[in-house]
C-alpha cells in the first residue's frame, strides 16, 4: 500500500525538524506515522519510506526491527502492552497479566480470533507510580490497571472500534 498524501504531509513535517540533508533522522517518525495508518509495517511500506527518505531499504529495516514498538507483522486492532518489569510486578502486574490472558483467552504475542486485541509483554514505561501500566496502541497510557479497570478499557476500546466502523 503506497503512503497516502496525508502520511507524506506528516512525514514532511517531521523531516523539517532536522538540518537539510539529514532527513534520515525522520525515519523513526516516518515509521511511526506509517504504522499508525496501517497498524503494522509491511516490506512494501518499509520500501516506500526508504524511497521517500532516500535511504537504503535495509537501513530502514534495521531501524524497524530494532525498536520494540514497530511491528513487522499484522497485529490486532488494539495492541495492548502490559509492563511486567519489577516495579509493576511489585504493584500488581501479575494479577493484570493473568486477568488479561483469561479474559481475552490468549497468551503473550497472540491475537484474539476477532482480530481486536493483541497482547504483548512490555518493559518499563517510566510511570511506575501508577502501576500496573498498560499501553494501548503504543500511544494511550492506561494506569493502575486492576481487573475492573481492564474491563472498562476493553469495553471502551470495543465501543470505539464499532463507532469507527460505522463511520467507515
Amino acid at each position: 500500500m503506497p503512503l497516502s498524501a496525508a502520511t507524506r504531509q506528516k512525514i514532511d513535517k517531521a523531516i523539517a525538524k532536522y538540518p537539510a540533508g539529514r532527513q534520515q533522522s525522520a525515519v523513526m517518525a516516518a515509521l511511526t506515522i506509517a504504522q499508525t495508518e496501517h497498524g503494522w509495517l509491511s516490506s512494501e511500506t518499509l520500501r516506500e519510506v526508504a524511497e521517500y527518505l532516500n535511504m537504503p531499504p535495509v537501513a530502514v529495516y534495521e531501524v524497524a526491527s530494532f525498536y520494540s514498538m514497530y511491528h513487522l507483522k499484522p497485529m490486532g486492532r488494539y495492541v495492548l502492552t502490559l509492563c511486567t518489569n519489577l516495579p509493576c510486578a511489585l504493584q500488581g502486574s501479575d494479577v493484570a497479566a493473568r486477568y488479561l490472558q483469561e479474559t481475552l483467552k490468549i497468551g503473550w504475542k497472540e491475537t484474539t480470533p476477532d482480530g481486536m486485541f493483541t497482547l504483548l509483554q512490555g518493559e518499563c514505561m517510566g510511570a511506575c507510580q501508577e502501576a500496573p501500566v498498560l499501553l494501548a496502541n503504543h500511544q494511550r497510557m492506561c494506569c493502575k490497571m486492576t481487573p475492573p479497570q481492564i474491563d472498562a478499557l476493553l469495553v471502551q476500546l470495543r465501543a470505539e472500534a464499532s463507532q469507527e466502523e460505522r463511520h467507515e
Binding site: 533522522s25 531501524v63 525498536y67 518489569n85 519489577l86 516495579p87 518499563c124 507510580q129 497510557m141
Partner: protein, 430 residues
C-alpha cells in the same frame, strides 16, 4: 486524584505544580523565563553563566552524576555547528521523574535548554523523548509551539544576537537509547547502538558535531540556578553536590510517587513520606538508584542518607534516584529474575559479553526460579556477571551485571535455599 502531586516541602523543581498549570502563562506566573530574560537583557556573558553552574555543584541527574558545569566546559568554543540534546528517554526501571517534569513543567526544561545552548554556543537542540510516553511528547510539542510563538525560541531571541532552534524527537521503545551515544545514533535515524568513547560527544556528537547531552532534571535545574544564584542551589544540597533530587519511589510502599528532597536526607524520611511499607509489613530490600544499581538489605538502607557519597559508601549508587522498595514477603530470586529478563531483552546485541551474557544470566535465573537450579549456579551467575563487567562498549553491560552480583551477595541464603529445596524461602507474592 491529586495525591501524587504532593512532592514534599523541599520541592523547588516541582513546587506549585498541580498537573493543570503547565502552560507558558502559568510558568511565567511562577517566575519562568526570568532567568533567560536576565541573561539576554543584562548581556550576561556565557562564561559568567557557566561560572554560576559550576558554583551550584549541579551534578547530572540521569544516573552518572557528572558535574554539569564541567561537562558544558568540554564543548569546543569555536566550532561552527554544535548541538544540545535533552535525554528524556527515561527507561531505567523504577524511574519516572522526567515524565512528571515534562508533563507538569515542560517550559522549565525548554528554558534550561535555551540557557544551555546560550552558554555552549549551540544553534540547535533536540529533546529525545521516551517512546512509551506519547501523550507527554504531544504536550512537549504544544509547549514548544508556545515558546516559539512567545519568541523564546527562534532567531534573535528577544531582540538579542542569540538564535536557537529546538525540536522534540520521539523514541520508539529501546532502553539502550538512554545511553547518550546510542541516543545520538537513534537521533541520526539508525539503530540505537552505543559508540566508542573517546571521542566523547563534546567533540564528536550528533552528525559528528560537538554535542552535549543532559538529563531532563539536570536541565530543569538550570533556570533556577541562574535566577537564584549558584550558591543558593549549592546550599540546598551538599558541598560537592548541590540542589534537591527527585526520588521516584515504587514497589511495596503505601504511596508510590515522586518526592523531591534535599540531597543528604535520610532514607527513612523518604520511606515515611511514601507512607511506609505497604500493609505495615517489614522492609526487606531496596534498590536505591534504578534497576541497574546494586540492591541493599533493609538494615543498611535504613542507616543510609540519600546522596551520592552515602549511597556509594553503603555499596550502591544514587543513580537516577529510582527507589524500588521490596517488603519481607518478596522472593529475591523472583525479583532478580525479572530484572535479568529485562536486560536480556534490551541488550542491543553489539557486544558479545552483554548479548550472550545477559542471555545466560536470564536462563540460569529462569531455571533457579522454576525449581531446576543446579549446584554451582550461584557461582556461575557471579562469574558471568564478572566477565561482562568492563568488557562492553557502554555501561549497559555493567548495568546488567551489578544487580546480579548484589542480589547473590546480600541474599545468598535465599538463592541456595531455592536451588536446594526447589521453591521459595519466603511466602512470595510477586
Amino acid at each position: 486524584m491529586r495525591t501524587f502531586l504532593d512532592f514534599g516541602s523541599d520541592a523547588v523543581l516541582l513546587a506549585g505544580l498541580t498537573g493543570d498549570n503547565w502552560r507558558l502563562k502559568d510558568y511565567v506566573a511562577r517566575g519562568g523565563y526570568e532567568a533567560l530574560k536576565k541573561i539576554l537583557n543584562e548581556h550576561i556573558a556565557p562564561e559568567e553563566v557557566l561560572a554560576e553552574i559550576k558554583l551550584s555543584a549541579l551534578r547530572g541527574r540521569g544516573g552518572a552524576g557528572f558535574p554539569t558545569g564541567m561537562k558544558w566546559s568540554f564543548m569546543p568554543p569555536n566550532a561552527p555547528e554544535k548541538y544540545v540534546v535533552c535525554n528524556a528517554d527515561e527507561g531505567e526501571p523504577g524511574t519516572f521523574k522526567d515524565r512528571d517534569i515534562l508533563r507538569f513543567n515542560p517550559h522549565a526544561v525548554i528554558e534550561g535548554m535555551i540557557i544551555a545552548a546560550y552558554v555552549m554556543g549551540c544553534a540547535r537542540g533536540y529533546n529525545y523523548i521516551h517512546g512509551e510516553i506519547w501523550e507527554v511528547y504531544e504536550r512537549c510539542e504544544e509547549a514548544l509551539d508556545e515558546a516559539r510563538a512567545a519568541g523564546f525560541i527562534g532567531s534573535h531571541i528577544m531582540g538579542s544576537g542569540f538564535s536557537f532552534e529546538l525540536f522534540n524527537h520521539h523514541g520508539f521503545g529501546a532502553y539502550i537509547c538512554g545511553e547518550e551515544t546510542a541516543l545520538l545514533e537513534s537521533l541520526e535515524g539508525k539503530k540505537g547502538q552505543s559508540r566508542y568513547k573517546p571521542p566523547f560527544p563534546a567533540n564528536v556528537g550528533l552528525y559528528g558535531k560537538p554535542t552535549t547531552v543532559n538529563n531532563v532534571e539536570t536541565l530543569a535545574c538550570v533556570p533556577l540556578i541562574v535566577k537564584n544564584g549558584g550558591q543558593w542551589f549549592q546550599n540546598l544540597g551538599q558541598p560537592n553536590a548541590g540542589g534537591t533530587k527527585i526520588f521516584s519511589v515504587s514497589g511495596d510502599v503505601e504511596r508510590p510517587g515522586n518526592y523531591e528532597l534535599r540531597l543528604g536526607t535520610p532514607f527513612a524520611t523518604l520511606l515515611e513520606m511514601a507512607g511506609g511499607v505497604r500493609g505495615g509489613r517489614r522492609l526487606k530490600a531496596v534498590i536505591p538508584g534504578g534497576s541497574s544499581s546494586p540492591v541493599l538489605p533493609a538494615a543498611i538502607m535504613m542507616e543510609t542518607h540519600l546522596d551520592y557519597n552515602s549511597i556509594a559508601k553503603a555499596g550502591s549508587m544514587l543513580g537516577s534516584g529510582a527507589v524500588i522498595v521490596m517488603d519481607e514477603t518478596r522472593c529475591m530470586v523472583r525479583c532478580l529474575q525479572r530484572l535479568s529478563e529485562f536486560y536480556h531483552e534490551e541488550s542491543c546485541g553489539q557486544c558479545t559479553p552483554c548479548r550472550e551474557g545477559t542471555g545466560w544470566l536470564a536462563r540460569i535465573m529462569h531455571r533457579i526460579e522454576h525449581g531446576e537450579g543446579r549446584p554451582g549456579d550461584i557461582e556461575m551467575l557471579d562469574r558471568i556477571a564478572h566477565d561482562i563487567m568492563g568488557r562492553t562498549i557502554c555501561a549497559m553491560g555493567d548495568a546488567a551485571a551489578l544487580p546480579v552480583r548484589s542480589f547473590i551477595k546480600h541474599f545468598h541464603d535465599e538463592f541456595e535455599y531455592h536451588i536446594k529445596h526447589r521453591r521459595c524461602q519466603v511466602a512470595d507474592h510477586v
